[in-house]
Symmetry: C2
């Protein structure tokens, strides 16, 4: 899977990207990597898991939309995709 | 958190329940327990994580709605809530 900024769409004031993994366990492993980053950064994306697909949404509720922090974390998310 | 069947609502032909955990890591730990059951049973719920809240949706796409299997797995989900 390749990743660049253009893979993220602005949907309802959030940066959103849907990723597809080869298997459900690989999708869950990605969610765990993402959760670790989120907890460390104290910034938590919305995550939706539908079998092998994971949708990640970064937004800053207190700011009412997308901030530079969300953009930076979207970039970090891209780097978590590989196995 | 207590759990019984009445905690599940039928929403768009799925059994849906939203759970709130004391922390984000505890929410993620629950998702991992749920994912383990789902993979073992070869039946995967939709899962939405929003900080400390996790929404679980059981449905059988091939049947176009809720089956006894979904009801059984909703019951198993209840038993995964505790720490």
């Amino acid at each position: 899977m390749t990743a660049d900024d253009s893979d993220w769409a602005e949907v309802d004031r959030a940066l959103e990207r849907t990723l597809e993994f080869p298997s459900f366990p690989e999708a869950i492993a990605f969610v765990n990597r993402l959760a670790e980053v989120a907890e460390r950064e104290s910034h938590h994306p919305d995550i939706a898991i539908s079998y092998r697909q994971v949708t990640v949404r970064w937004t800053t509720h207190s700011a009412g939309g997308i901030t530079d922090r969300d953009r930076a974390l979207a970039d970090k998310t891209n780097r978590l995709i590989g196995p």
